[in-house]
């Protein structure tokens, strides 16, 4: 067996967290040891993952770098492996976490060490989710991710942190319990929880419907879809900046990843059957939450609602079952990871200076913060899907994909593009432009070096993948082809069986 690279990238952050834990510190003191260790681990991990991305065979849809250990013999295997789809999410995670760590150094005032530990542990769990090739392992990581996130909101959050943390926990747990039941059921049906084996054998179509619904309930909450999205705005508002960033940029993507890997991959017949449900919920999400975003008074809430709308495109795209739709939604998730992270960081920059998230506090800051305004503009443009930003590529391909399948859904969801322009430009205008009326803003300072670097890197990524999205497409191409082929043959088989 080769070097267990996947285990390495998964557990390096955990080891880092251990070392952070061992550093000595008083409670509220700035702990430079902890900071250096966590930055070092997360960046090293990022570069290892870049290397994995580079070395992964992009011409095949097979799982690669497979590792297999027996855990509970004969029952649960510890199985890791990645394909073109999962590596993108791992890459995104490894890219966002160091950024979070950088951003929290200045903004987290209490218990910084514990905060860093929570972030690193979270990274382990999230990467574990994307690496798992065994349902039980997947479930473990998927659920374990809740704990650090719950703590991040509950300990470092704002005034209503407890309410939000519990709301977040309740919603997600409700879905997950059903998923656990479904996983157990799968074990009884197929005799294994190994994802590759299940995919080969296929699950009899009569079981698929219920199992699909159980998985759906978990992923729909995570993503989140309408109407189980209401935890997200609250969680975002109360979470500290770095928490919001991880939440929006990565945790939500676990839902989308789940839909691709499990709903479509394992239950194709049920997926086809439930497509109308997904389409209607997603279209509602796109329009409904965009309209709500228009009327928000709190910047973070506005961005949270816009996230829900953008995730609506993701689900629509996945359930078109065609190349443009699925690739579009993967790119959309990737780009939303970059853009939403950047937007929350941008809000964080303002929040650190004035301690207000309300839009009406601001106005006319462009003259005092020109660099900030410039960077913020790029993310605003990404949100509204301007060609040349990564937001456009995903959104447009999703719409192309869904147009093939259903005109009405495509047209209705295109309205979201107009609304996105309205809410985000209006936000920008009220925050950045206009006359400065709040005297407290008179002394506001432009972004400092570390903020400029963070936002600059993100904006470069947004523009790079807008102009040159090819690396993303090449990575997922084979896997998506395989997914669609499997889907189509299963559907064909099912039709002939029924005849």
């Amino acid at each position: 067996m080769n070097f267990p690279i996947l285990s390495a990238i998964t557990f390096i952050p955990l080891i880092g967290a251990l070392f952070v834990f061992l550093t000595r510190s008083e409670k509220d003191e700035k702990n430079s040891g902890a900071i250096y260790i966590s930055i070092f681990t997360s960046i090293v991990n990022f570069f290892i993952i870049l290397f994995v991305w580079y070395s992964i065979d992009k011409t095949t849809s097979d799982f690669q770098f497979i590792e297999e250990y027996n855990w509970i013999s004969g029952f649960i295997k510890f199985k890791f492996g990645i394909d073109g789809i999962s590596i993108l999410f791992i890459l995104l995670t490894a890219f966002i976490i160091p950024i979070c760590i950088f951003s929290c150094i200045n903004s987290v005032k209490t218990r910084l060490k514990e905060f860093l530990i929570a972030l690193l542990v979270l990274e382990t769990f999230i990467i574990g989710v994307f690496c798992s090739l065994d349902l039980v392992i997947f479930y473990l990581f998927f659920e374990a991710g809740l704990i650090p996130m719950f703590l991040i909101i509950g300990i470092w959050g704002g005034p209503r942190k407890v309410y939000s943390a519990f709301k977040f926990f309740l919603f997600t747990l409700l879905g997950s319990v059903l998923m656990l039941v479904a996983i157990i059921a799968i074990y009884w049906i197929s005799g294994t929880t190994d994802i590759t084996e299940i995919n080969q054998m296929g699950i009899p179509s009569e079981y698929q419907y219920l199992l699909w619904l159980a998985f759906f309930s978990s992923f729909a909450v995570k993503l989140p879809m309408w109407p189980v999205h209401t935890w997200l705005p609250d969680a975002h508002v109360e979470a500290p900046t770095a928490g919001s960033v991880v939440l929006a940029a990565i945790l939500l993507k676990m839902g989308g990843y789940g839909f691709i890997r499990f709903s479509v991959g394992m239950f194709p017949v049920a997926s086809e059957y439930f497509t109308p449900l997904i389409f209607s919920l997603s279209v509602i999400a796109v329009i409904y939450t965009s309209l709500i975003a228009l009327m928000q008074k709190d910047m973070k809430k506005l961005i949270a609602y816009s996230s829900v709308a953008h995730m609506g495109y993701v689900t629509i795209g996945i359930f078109t079952f065609n190349k443009q739709g699925i690739e579009g939604s993967i790119v959309q998730m990737f780009s939303h990871g970059l853009i939403s992270a950047a937007l929350f960081l941008s809000v964080g920059v303002l929040y650190d200076r004035t301690h207000s998230r309300l839009i009406k506090t601001y106005g006319g800051i462009v003259n005092l913060m020109p660099k900030y305004s410039f960077l913020f503009m790029i993310f605003v443009l990404g949100t509204l899907g301007l060609p040349g930003t990564s937001g456009f590529v995903g959104e447009f391909l999703v719409l192309v994909g869904v147009f093939k399948v259903n005109y009405l859904v495509a047209i209705l969801s295109s309205i979201g593009v107009i609304l996105a322009a309205a809410y985000i430009l209006w936000l920008y205008k009220r925050v950045v432009f206009g006359k400065m009326e709040n005297i407290q803003l008179k002394r506001i300072k432009d972004v400092n070096l570390s903020e400029a670097v963070i936002l600059g890197v993100l904006s470069a990524a947004v523009l790079f993948f807008g102009f040159y999205p090819d690396p993303l497409f090449q990575t997922v191409n084979a896997s998506v082809d395989n997914l669609i082929n499997n889907y189509n043959s299963d559907i064909q088989q099912n039709i002939t069986l029924n005849k």
């Binding site: 519990f166 709301k167 309740l170 919603f171 109407p227 189980v228 209401t230 935890w231 705005p233 409904y288 309209l291 709500i292 975003a293 228009l294 009327m295 928000q296 065609n322 190349k323 443009q324 690739e327 579009g328 006319g364 462009v366 443009l381 509204l384 301007l386 060609p387 040349g388 456009f392 590529v393 447009f396 391909l397 719409l399 192309v400 147009f403 093939k404 005109y407 009405l408 495509a410 047209i411 295109s414 309205i415 593009v417 107009i418 322009a421 309205a422 430009l425 209006w426 205008k429 950045v432 432009f433 206009g434 006359k435 102009f467 040159y468 999205p469 090819d470 497409f473």
Partner: protein, 636 residues
């Protein structure tokens, strides 16, 4: 060279932004030089195209490839794109020069110049695209630059609002445009112009089921594409952003909202002529929207008092002309008018900018008057621009506008005759509002109370030189290029870049049609002089008599109010409704909050069982025992 033309403005914009640290003047020089170089190269390219037939397609790189959805970024040089390049780069270069003078007092000059250059780049990518997606890229790109430039004076709330309005109204158009692109990709399987255009005849009779309606594929595609064109070119229903866009600095209005960006819609229709030609319904729709806009905008322009808004409505109206030219199938005439219009409309805007500049940002024509001796160059330029716009014989507008009316007439269909009639009526209105502007601004009495007349002086050289160059263009561009662009051998130039299925028969033009418009526009000069200068009370009487009509026109047919009532207010209302009633009242109350409340109630109730008193437990045990006993007695 093609690459140089495309990327020079972009490099200029970036470089200009970087070197502003050395001083504003450097970024002004760099951006202007780069764009001017692009302009010179474009002219060479245009010349090479004509003389050596030096056209071609140059792929830059593969932009997006997802399955069959393959889109390249490329440079496609053909007659249509080469003439557009000339128009865009020339006007842009002149506007760059002009801006150095016009914006001299502004602290943000480098930013302004960079936006202008960036706009030029976006417009170039739009024009030289060889597929619909790159076109869309440029399309939204120019929209972005327009947004940034309209809102350039970001302290003014009205400017910010106008910028957002422009972007969103354009987005509505783009929404239609995108659907058009989807339709093309789904049915043609490609977005490349050449491939789509070759396939178009095969689909001429294809019917598709679109949202429950049986419709012709080509028709519905064209209509959606045209919605995009309507947004960008400010056609009726989607025109409301253009007058508001005048909040931006005047050079912006000249470049973006007169000469280049707003004509992108016309360009789109002409570029897609190989598709539009197969749908008479779509063409008629284009023609009708064009006619309505031409007449509507002219009628509004006649009563406006803001000098820039008058010209903005005039632009809107002239775009209407171009559209109905395209709608009757005279694509080459549409582009010819686009070409001449770019010169004289940019001239009018820049001229009005010169006036505004000298009057300390006064824009109301009622506060002007008698400026012609003070600003002779501007006056001269504006008069030439007006003559060209109204179609005074032998100036550029004469050739292009009359050609539109003639071709509409020659079309021989009802729509064509109707268009010709509207064209003549609009020409009359055009003459009226244009001369009103000239007379109110430059003649009559000096009406400004804030400024003494002696303070006014002619603008500097950076302003007057572009004006004079545009004067040359406004005078000669029609005369010189007429034969070449719309003459009998027009196909020598246009080749495959436009498709006209039904050739026009030039023999049947009645003489009266040829003379009627020039006659009207000439006779209207003294008439308007009389009305606006000599006997102003005649008009006042008319205004008093038809007060409601006057107000209707003055308020632009109440479009803004209407949209505010039927779109903006309901949208905001629904947004709040969903948020407060949907999310908070329904989902949260029935969802997490409700459940936790119920659980709390249940656990409160059930906790009472654990009272800690032995007699409570004994009592419960007793009840349980008796229940069990009962159960066993009856069921066993």
């Amino acid at each position: 060279m093609e690459y140089a033309i495309l990327f020079l403005p972009l490099i200029g914009a970036l470089l200009g932004y970087i070197i502003k640290v050395f001083g504003d003047i450097y970024s002004e020089i760099v951006t202007t030089l780069f764009v001017s170089a692009a302009a010179i190269l474009s002219i060479i390219l245009f010349y090479n195209g004509i003389v050596y037939e030096d056209y071609g397609n140059y792929k830059i790189y593969q932009w997006i490839a997802s399955g069959k959805f393959v889109v390249n970024a490329s440079i496609n040089i053909d007659p249509l794109s080469s003439i557009m390049l000339v128009v865009v780069s020339l006007v842009s270069a002149l506007v760059h020069i002009y801006s150095i003078g016009y914006m001299s007092h502004d602290p943000d000059k480098p930013r302004f110049m960079c936006y202008l250059s960036l706009f030029t780049f976006a417009m170039f990518t739009l024009v030289v695209s060889d597929n619909f997606l790159q076109l869309f890229f440029g399309w939204e790109g120019v929209g972005l630059c327009s947004y940034l430039l309209i809102g350039f004076w970001h302290k003014k709330n009205s400017a910010n609002n106008a910028a957002i309005k422009a972007f969103i109204v354009n987005r509505i158009g783009d929404f239609g445009f995108a659907i058009g692109i989807f339709l093309i990709f789904i049915f043609f399987g490609t977005l490349n112009y050449e491939e789509v255009f070759t396939l178009a005849p095969n689909f001429a009779d294809t019917e598709i089921n679109f949202l429950g309606l049986e419709v012709n594929l080509i028709t519905v595609t064209c209509l959606f594409l045209f919605i995009g064109a309507m947004g960008k070119s400010a056609q009726f229903f989607l025109h409301t952003w253009l007058p508001d866009a005048m909040e931006g600095p005047t050079p912006v209005s000249a470049l973006i909202h007169a000469a280049t960006m707003v004509t992108a819609g016309v360009f789109l229709v002409v570029r897609c002529s190989p598709i539009f030609e197969y749908s008479q319904v779509a063409l008629n729709f284009v023609a009708i929207v064009g006619m309505i806009t031409a007449l509507f905008a002219a009628s509004v322009a006649i009563v406006q008092n803001d000098i820039k808004k008058i010209i903005a409505y005039s632009t809107c109206s002239q775009l209407g002309y171009m559209f109905f030219a395209a709608g009757v199938g005279a694509y080459h005439v549409a582009i010819f008018h686009l070409f001449t219009h770019a010169f004289f409309k940019a001239l009018l805007f820049l001229g009005s900018g010169s006036v505004i500049h000298s009057l300390n940002d006064e824009q109301d024509v009622r506060n002007m008057g008698d400026l012609w001796k003070k600003m002779p160059v501007t006056w001269f330029a504006m008069v030439v621009g007006t003559l060209a716009l109204t179609g005074f014989p032998f100036l550029s507008g004469f050739y292009s506008k009359d050609a539109i009316i003639e071709f509409a007439f020659l079309k021989g269909t009802n729509v064509g005759y109707f268009a010709a009639g509207i064209g003549i009526m609009t020409a009359v209105l055009t003459a009226l509002y244009s001369w009103r502007l000239i007379f109110k601004t430059f003649h009559g009495k000096f009406n400004n109370k804030n400024l003494s007349k002696s303070e006014i002086h002619e603008s500097g050289l950076t302003i007057t030189i572009p004006l004079l160059l545009l004067v040359v263009g406004s005078i000669f561009s029609g005369f010189l290029f007429k034969e070449f662009l719309i003459g009998h051998d027009y196909n020598n130039f246009w080749r495959d870049s436009i498709l006209i299925l039904e050739k026009f028969d030039h023999s049947g033009i009645p003489l009266w049609l040829l003379v009627i418009t020039p006659f009207f526009v000439t006779i209207l000069i003294p008439v308007s002089f009389y009305l606006y200068i000599k006997k102003t009370n005649v008009l006042d009487g008319i205004v008093l008599k038809y007060k409601s009509l006057y107000n209707f026109l003055l308020n632009k047919w109440y479009f803004d109010e209407l949209y505010n009532q039927i779109i903006i207010k309901p949208t905001k209302f629904i947004g709040s409704f969903f948020w407060e009633k949907g999310d908070i009242k329904i989902i949260d109350r029935l969802g997490p909050d409700g459940i936790s409340k119920i659980i709390k109630i249940i656990s409160n109730k059930s906790s009472k069982f654990q009272s800690g008193y032995i007699y409570d437990y004994a009592f419960i045990m007793l009840i349980g025992l008796s229940l069990l006993l009962t159960f066993f007695i009856f069921y066993k």
